[in-house]
Subunit: 270 residues, 3 copies
């Protein structure tokens, strides 16, 4: 790594992560990978997840912000989740802590921006697209036609972050506020629902303490250690394996039982 | 690439794509990859999809025909979807546009044959299997025991397409006709149903024009620009992100609501 | 391969397989891969499956025992399925037939132990974790914090199996007994349920013969050749593509119809 005035500079490692809402039943993820290896045969492509809900880019940013440090410096992280796909939305790029993030400029990267040191944000301009050989007007599938070629050129080291465009300070803001801590409470949000229906919040264990957890108007009680601390069918709050506060129903599906999902407000009252 | 009398010759790039009906819950896809890297450690294996319905090989060919050009020349595309697996079905191989396709000779590759320039088709013979070290009689799981070794040898460049067998002109025909255009209508088929229940047809946007769309006896109306052009719960036709005509229900599941699925006939009447 | 007194020695090939209960909707599998390529950029990582039920590690061992020989010698097989994750459970390592297996010491590897020649088992000790740079006390997510770094060091050849710890003979026993054969019957277990609801047993075709199959108290009849040997809606026993006895319902879901699942006892009475 090369340290400059603005911190750890990005030096491509050849690793590319992919985060999308494409699912794995259709060939769209495979096609993106085809375009990447066509331009950079030595790319090592790693799927983060392809099950982000299409209407909820916030979840992509949430996972990226909590995952990227487990990848080697010089990784290019591509996230394509955009309710407005096909529109003329620009691509946002963030360089931080020797990693590079590419996503539609729709607020997806908000959680990354808030959690990194000294981020440098850019909006990808036409000159960068031309250097990457991307014919912008004809693009209909941005993951394949814009993000894949850009990621390949960046991962190959043929394109540098500074080539992407001018530094900007007005990326579209994130979808979720980071949790806010008051004197007597911490307020956060349900960011995702796992496959068991558990509601995963963006409130970290360090912020929880001995407080009572509230989901909208519902008192979920104190944070428990394990499911067996409550009766079958009862709701409970606990810290999940990722170190985040989550709300569950023992032997049940919290999202269905409590009729709550992504975006629901959660408070911890001390 | 090497240009010969018959066009762009196949030169192995080391990239292999996989398309199957195995799903990802069982280890069968992983086992195929194990056999490939055991023979060719430098293979770069990319999943196209493993969610093709077992009884519907047509969908594998459909996706391959529309995806393969996004992979580098010299890619080996393996597709294993066969309602008659375990039978003595031969393997078909098609060389076209510097790509190579391997699949059971059950019509799976029909869409590829119809969409490429100057295809060269072969049926894999016993001599080729022997050269690839495949003991044909003992094979029970063709993906693992026949297709994976063949793909590895081809991707490694140790086996050439011409080694696979004599050129044939009688591969089993495809499952679907390409759309037919009459004076006043275009007729096509629902090729796949996406995870939202949308019915994806094989009719391209260029063939649609200002016509009315009919699904069997149901008039779905003109092609719309967006979902919001109809009321919630209403059916509509629109062009999907892949450039294909699809039939959807706003805020609903078209396949369930309209009781239609793969193979249903669709007409555009001008 | 290097042959020693104790058989074929493990020499890292750089291939790593992953088997977990993480699913693919969350980024946990991707994060494990990030840690592996961060330490060993040339690792070739292959997913076996990430859909093992969390409470049923036996299925991971079952698939591993039946799959590992299709991977090249020198493969590191990592399996992380542990109902007691976060506990102070040690890691078990088994070296056998030039392959290396890593898993929680919770019986997961029982099926592997029973199916290989001359296994050498170890429990990973603190010294090995230190050599791999793993800070054991702070670990909360074992797949990411312990198994991924260990696998990377082993796949890179910087850590040898003998470095992992002393040889032990008291790994936690497997969850399932291998099928037992009496004079007139073979007894086994449903190991997994596939996505169609078929009940897959651990009884191999060679043990079945012309017997009658019983699922708990239910007589499923003789082993059939194909689904069409029974009426729609009827249950039947047959040999699946993996060479294992399975119980199905024609045009139906056997697990739901017969109210049976993983762990159910199956007998073949001759």
């Amino acid at each position: 790594m090369h340290v400059t005035e603005k911190g750890l500079e990005f030096r491509a490692s050849g690793v590319v992560t992919l985060t999308t809402d494409f699912g794995l039943a259709d060939p769209f993820v495979g096609v993106m990978k085809g375009r990447i290896v066509g331009r950079h045969p030595d790319a090592r492509i790693i799927d983060l997840t392809h099950e982000i809900p299409a209407h909820w880019p916030a979840e992509a940013g949430f996972w990226l912000a909590r995952s990227f440090r487990y990848f080697p410096p010089g990784t290019v992280h591509v996230a394509v989740v955009d309710p407005g796909v096909g529109s003329a939305r620009a691509c946002a790029a963030i360089e931080a802590e020797s990693h590079l993030f590419l996503a539609p400029d729709n607020g997806l990267l908000g959680a990354v921006l808030e959690s990194v040191a000294n981020p440098v944000a850019r909006r990808v301009d036409d000159q960068a697209l031309q250097r990457a050989g991307v014919a912008s007007p004809s693009a209909t599938f941005h993951g394949r036609d814009i993000f894949a070629p850009l990621a390949a050129e960046l991962a190959a080291g043929r394109l540098q972050p500074a080539d992407l465009g001018a530094i900007v300070h007005d990326l579209v803001p994130g979808w979720l506020e980071e949790p806010t801590a008051g004197l007597r409470e911490v307020a956060g949000t349900v960011v995702t629902v796992d496959r068991f229906g558990n509601l995963i919040t963006n409130i970290g264990s360090e912020a929880v303490g001995a407080g009572h957890v509230q989901l909208a108007e519902l008192d979920v009680g104190p944070v428990r250690r394990t499911y067996s601390d409550v009766a079958s069918g009862a709701s409970l709050a606990l810290i999940g394996s990722g170190g985040l506060l989550e709300i569950a129903v023992r032997d049940g599906n919290a999202s269905q039982t409590l009729k709550a999902g992504r975006g629901a407000r959660v408070q911890v009252v001390r």
